[in-house]
């Protein structure tokens, strides 16, 4: 079984003993997004990985989540802000929150 790395506090997050991280962020104006940074069940820092490599690995990792669980993806590739929403629209997983400042995407498995 693959294990996911615990989210780091590198981007100003604060954690609790359960390993969950939750921080309030400014309201996101996009429809379907939560205004508050959600609790994540898994985290993956994809670094500079992009394009096909990013979404194929993301797909494999998302399939290991239970329905309703949330992945905190960090992706710094220039194409990720366009690709991740498109990938979610195609796969049906939900992009529930984004934080451009930290290149973060919170994706709920459906």
């Amino acid at each position: 079984m693959r294990t996911f790395g615990r989210p780091t506090a590198a981007h100003g997050e604060s954690g609790d003993a359960s390993g969950h991280f939750q921080t309030s962020y400014p309201a996101c104006p996009r429809r379907g997004h939560t205004h508050v940074r959600p609790v994540s069940d898994a985290a993956w820092d994809a670094g500079d990985l992009g394009c096909g490599e990013l979404v194929l690995e993301l797909r494999m990792r998302m399939r290991k989540l239970e329905r309703g669980q949330i992945m905190h993806l960090t992706a710094r590739d220039l194409g990720a802000p366009a690709d991740i929403p498109a990938w979610c629209r195609m796969t049906g997983d939900l992009l529930v929150h984004t934080d451009p400042a930290t290149h973060s995407f919170f994706i709920q498995h459906t």
């Binding site: 500079d48 992009g50 394009c51 096909g52 990013l54 979404v55 590739d77 220039l78 194409g79 990720a80 366009a82 690709d83 991740i84 498109a86 990938w87 629209r89 195609m90």
Partner: protein
């Protein structure tokens, strides 16, 4: 828009004929009321940088910059391949207006919605 057309272009100054004709066809698609996307990959990503296309003028055609400007002004989309752009160490702050750096998922989404495609 009555349909979708993707014009895939992989050439820039290494084949200005193909680069020019790709945008001629894209303008024809746009003028025919098609939801039109020009996908720039490999060498063609250089066309996504401001100033690069300014001196490309293939005989028998309008200057490429004019074709591209008309295309953008008409509502045409330009996707620029992210890994191709990164590989060439190009400057995203100099991206032409109307262009968007994307990875494969964004292109696949457009194609999966029933788009036809032509490649240059």
């Amino acid at each position: 828009m009555s349909g979708k057309l993707c014009v895939s272009l992989t050439f820039a100054k290494n084949d200005t004929d193909k680069a020019t004709v790709a945008f001629v066809v894209a303008n024809a698609a746009l003028g025919s009321n098609q939801d039109t996307l020009v996908f720039l990959s490999t060498e063609a990503v250089r066309l996504g940088v401001k100033g690069y296309a300014d001196d490309i003028h293939e005989e028998g055609f309008a200057p490429l910059k004019q074709l591209m400007d008309n295309y953008i002004a008409g509502g045409g989309k330009i996707f620029v391949c992210s890994p191709c752009f990164k590989k060439r160490a190009l400057d995203e702050s100099k991206l032409i207006d109307g262009a968007q750096i994307v990875g494969g998922a964004k292109l696949v989404e457009f194609l999966s919605q029933g788009a036809a495609s032509v490649s240059y």
